[in-house]
Symmetry: C2
Subunit: 457 residues, 2 copies
Amino acid sequence: MKKIVIIGGSAAGPKTAAKSKRMNSENIIELYTDENLISYSACGLPYFIEGTVKNINQLIIRTPEDFEKQGVKVFLEHRAQKIYPEKKCVIINDKEVFYDELVLCTGASPIVPNIKNINIDGVYFLRRVRDGIKIKEAMHNSKRAVIIGGGFIGIELLEAFVHNGLSVVLIESCTRLMRAFDSEFSDMIKNHILERDGQWIEMHFGQDVEEFIANEEGKFTKLKTKEGLEIEADFCVIASGVKPNIDLARDAGVEIGSKGGIVVDETMKTNVKNIWAAGDCTQTRCLLTGRPVYYSLGTIANKQGRVAAININTCPKVCEKFDGVLGSAITKYFNYTMALSGITQENAARISEQYDLHPISATVVKKDKAGYMPDSENITIKLVADKKTGKLLGAQGIGTGDVNKRINAITSALQSGLTVEDFLHLDLPYAPPYSSTIDILLTAAYRLNGQIKDKNW
Amino acid sequence: MKKIVIIGGSAAGPKTAAKSKRMNSENIIELYTDENLISYSACGLPYFIEGTVKNINQLIIRTPEDFEKQGVKVFLEHRAQKIYPEKKCVIINDKEVFYDELVLCTGASPIVPNIKNINIDGVYFLRRVRDGIKIKEAMHNSKRAVIIGGGFIGIELLEAFVHNGLSVVLIESCTRLMRAFDSEFSDMIKNHILERDGQWIEMHFGQDVEEFIANEEGKFTKLKTKEGLEIEADFCVIASGVKPNIDLARDAGVEIGSKGGIVVDETMKTNVKNIWAAGDCTQTRCLLTGRPVYYSLGTIANKQGRVAAININTCPKVCEKFDGVLGSAITKYFNYTMALSGITQENAARISEQYDLHPISATVVKKDKAGYMPDSENITIKLVADKKTGKLLGAQGIGTGDVNKRINAITSALQSGLTVEDFLHLDLPYAPPYSSTIDILLTAAYRLNGQIKDKNW
């Protein structure tokens, strides 16, 4: 029996709590969060704003009452202020809470860019449920929105706003959209969005927002960029990414890594005794190279919460390891899917010396089903591999057809370190409504193999 | 430079021809077929019959002219009669054709059950393009059809006929539909079909058709089974599976295996010098157990044709191997997908002693997307693993949601011999429109892992 105190209530925290209780019903589990609800799907917020998800309560996975029934004590609106590792104590809402094991699931916060007047009305970040509610309200009262940031959340908000009849200006400081992808994919994504909805959408790249301008009521009315651009809109959402919440941890002597997140080993232990961490507040490792990486994703948080709970309950015996991630991600713009897993060619080139990589790639455009099926659609898949070892390094896919399936199929191949030569014999299920006889993945693998073997096979 | 003679023109033959020519443009390539066309998608025939594919020519992948342009000589309606391996000669349409390398791609033929009057009008098999045309015509002139056989083709024809407003009787000699799956999946598939379309469909199991009865014009009008059932219908399609065409090969001393197909090594060589084989006329090996298996699938034929062509051109150097298959397959009944890969639990149990298998399984019913997305659908996934080694053995999936993606993701895991423990950390791309935070595949893997570790994890 242990007293396990968990700080944070979005994904990793509730997972750790529930799993710890299931593993030993005598454990005392206390979960503290500074929010007024727990266990919700932050990833669903863009679809709540869009209207696809009608009721915000649908995003609540489990209520505090659900957890209480299971025997987990939930403390809403409780802020953890300071940890005293020697005393195994954490100060929460000015009171001492003692623990046997402490799990930090403090999550991440939006990156707040250095913009003048950033705190005026009509400027939003999207992170928590209440943000989603506010943005949806703003959207319904507006005709024109501006989004700062052209990453996953930016694109999802773009869809939501366009779907609701707004005109939208998207501002990106980088020269391209969706930087998780290689440049040519960014361009194809941009072109697709503008071809589909160019009459409603303006995009500006390489623009650093410098100042927000408020109207007489103190509400957002315009932004200015360092490059001299001025954009008027009814409201503004900043989607410039997130950073891990690590102040509490750092103050307690917990190691923070080069990616800005809490450093944990594969059991989810930090460097400080009896302190564990999981979810968006931690950095992790790339499964393919071992290099430190940072992602803020519910899937990782859930897996890490599970591994933390298992090891907390079995330690010092290590019964489960979280080795790292591939960096798989997916989103859509209406019926257009964008997905990737592993390392892009540009990223592989960037780290090629350090990790002895020799990236090559093959990009194929092909129908997602048998070409004669009337609902077959072109998709574009790029496979990246290492010329020296022949191992697959990553895949990117875009298109209105079934890209999702292909990137899912690649993940197990990446995770198991398959070479292109192994992969090209992959026995994928085939029928005309589902793929072409030679699936686009295999076509891409054949082309890569030709480069690896330097033969025209 | 070699003279390569290829017998057979559906999938493996054309692939071998095209690839051989690409590898060495000086090769003399002759492709002989007893049909009047080559390089077509037989798998598309049910969708042509249904009307999804409007024009039969859409199923032609490449014409003889396409091949001629590439320098491959195509001989339509040429039947290979006898091989003289010593003379490196094959008799085709009563003439001697000499070869350096001979590639047998003789395909497979429908299994013709022992039924009285099987040759009357109104009884069809579905294999070749002309069969598809005839069945479509029969369907358009009919109100009621009977299908003998409840496998993949039987189900696809069922969809086609129901879609075209016919009532359909399905007769199956076995006690269940879709025997490639475990029994409980067969039942769920049957229940789904009957719930959806029970008013149009009758199914009878454990019925051996004994006799067809013709009307005065000699046309099918009724069938009788040994069990005493009598079914009237306007026409009948027999879809009782296929068997490899091996007479030509066997007569030449080519080894035929326990599964009835030509035995080839991983280079696609037969036991007879300078004779190779690929596609539906060959048997292959299960990648997971090494046991001989037989499948008739365009995907396998294409891969084998490619491997044959490479090795024919590089031999005695072996430059590519075809190691075997997982037995992946997929089909649909309207929006209901049925897919599998690897070994079912029942099959694993059947061969457990011989191959030292200890099959365990976990079946999960879960939404295919985040549960709050309005278009999320329940799917059922069963994972099978070996309790002793922890390795994944197979997966089956059914449902109106995205089953296809899950089975595709499993194939690379099976092909690389991943254990359940490796698999459950799989970093699958996640977003609410595409999956739940903990994908059904991982939920199933967690449950399997609990059984393997004998712990409640």
